[in-house]
Amino acid sequence: MAHNLTNSEIERYSRQLIIPDYGIESQNKLKSSSILIIGCGGLGCPSALYLSTAGIGRLGLVDDDTIEISNIHRQIAHDENKIGISKAQNLADRCKALNSLVKYEVHNILFTKTTALNLIEQYPFLFLSIYCTDNVITRYLINDVCVLLGKPLVSGSALKFEGQLTVYNYLNGPCYRCLYPTAPPAHAVSNCSDAGILGPIVGMIGSLQALEAIKVVAEIGTCLNGRMMIFDGFDFLTRIIKLRPRQIETCLMCKSVLSRENLTKKDREEILENFDYIEFCGVSNYNDKSINISILSDKKRINCSDYKNFTESHLLIDVRPKCQFNICSLPNSLNIPFDDFVYNEEKVVENIRDKLGNEKSIFLVCRRGNDSQLAVEILEKHFNDKEIKDLIGGLQTWSKEIEPDFPKY
C-alpha cells in the first residue's frame, strides 16, 4: 500500500510494523497525527516517552512546573541534574533524544480557562489529549474543552497504590462530566504531595494511556471508551467497569454541544466563560499545589521563632498521620492524628486531659499548618482555661526557618 514512511523510519519502527494488527497503515496515521499531553509528571513522562518512540507526528507538552527532587521517584524522564528546570522542556528534550523525527512543542503554561481553548486551537490536527493532572478544576476544564472541540480524551489518574484509566468523549462513550456531574468536595480530594504515590503505579497507568492513544489514532482494537479500568496495586485487583453512554439529557457540556449545530469559537468561549469552575469545584487554584489556609486569628497562632524561644513547660501535639510522624518529629511531641480529633473527639480530649497535668499551654503542629488550626478549634471547646495555639506553617516552616537539618518531605 501507499505510505509516506522513509527507509530509516521503516527500520526504526520495524518491530511494531510487523505486528499484523498494527501494520504500516497504523504507522502512517501516527505519523500524521498530533497529541497534546497536559501534565509532564508521573503519568505524562511514560505517556510522552512511548508516544515519542512510537513515532507520533507532533507532540505538545504542557506544564508550568519545574522539577523537584521529590518528583524523581516517579517522574521517570526527569533526573537529578535537572532540578529547577521546566518539566515540559525537559520531557521534550528527553523524548527528542529518543526520537528526533517527532515535532515537539513545549508549553510552559498553566492550563486555565483563558489558556485552554487557545492552546488546543493551536492544534488544527489535534486528535486527542492525554491528561495527567493532579487537580480537579483542571480535570473538568480539560474535559469540557475536549467536549466543546469534539476531541477524545485519554484520561489517567493515580494515587497511592491505585490507578484509573479510561477514554472519555469518544464513540458515544461518556465524558468525565457525564460520569461525575457533581465535583467531589474539596476536602475529599487528595493530591500526590499530600496522599502519596508509588512510581510503578503511574508508570503503568501512563504507559497504558500511550497504548490507548495509539489505538485511538490508528483506529485499531477496542479502546476503553465506555469502560473504566480500576487498578488496585496493593491487593493486585483489576476491574473493568462498564460505563453509561454519553448523558445528552443531563450532562451540562454534552447537552450544550449537542443542542446547537456548528458551535463557533465565540460560542465555545462563552460556554467556558459562563461556567464557574471555582464555585463548582469548591477550590480556588488551577495548579496541584497544596494550599495554606488561615482560619485562626493571629492571637491563636504562634510563629516558629517565637515557639523556639518559648521556654515554659507545655504540651506539644503533632496532628499528622502516624506514618508521617514516624518519618520525623519534634522532640517531646505527642502524636494524635487529626483524624482522631474528627472521629474520636471525646477519646482525644480524655487522652489530652491525662497528659496535660498542670501545663497551661497546648501547642499544635502539623506538616503545613492547616490541620493544626482545625485542631485548635476543636480543643478550644474543651479547654477554655488553657492557652491553645497552632504553629504557623507547621514543620515545613520549622525546617525552613529554624532547623535546616530537620527532614523535608
Binding site: 505524562g44 493532572t133 494515587l159 467531589p184 475529599a188 476491574r239 462498564k242 472521629y343
Partner: protein, 87 residues
C-alpha cells in the same frame, strides 16, 4: 428470610475511610435502590458520609445510577468508586 451476602470493594478515598479494601456486607432485602444500599454501607462505615455526594457504585463491573433498583443475590460484587485525581 436468609440474609444476602454482598462483596463490597472500596477504592480510592473510600478505602481510606473504611480502612480496608474489601468487606462482606449482609443485607435483608434483594430489591433496593443503589442509594439505599449506599446508606446501608454508610451506616456500617459512617466516615463514608464524606464521599456520599461524589461517589459512584458499580454492580458486578457495571456502573449503576443512584436511582436504579438493584436486584441483588448472594455473591454479587458492589464497588464503591470515588473519582481519584492524582497524576
Amino acid at each position: 428470610m436468609d440474609s444476602i451476602s454482598i462483596k463490597v470493594l472500596f477504592f480510592g478515598k473510600a478505602r481510606d475511610l473504611v480502612g480496608v479494601g474489601q468487606k462482606d456486607v449482609d443485607i435483608l432485602h434483594s430489591n433496593l435502590k443503589a442509594n439505599e444500599f449506599l446508606e446501608i454501607i454508610i451506616s456500617k462505615f459512617p466516615r463514608l458520609e464524606e464521599i456520599k455526594s461524589s461517589t459512584k457504585l458499580s454492580l458486578n463491573e457495571e456502573y449503576v445510577e443512584m436511582n436504579d433498583v438493584l436486584s441483588l443475590k448472594s455473591g454479587d460484587e458492589i464497588a464503591v468508586i470515588p473519582p481519584i485525581s492524582g497524576g
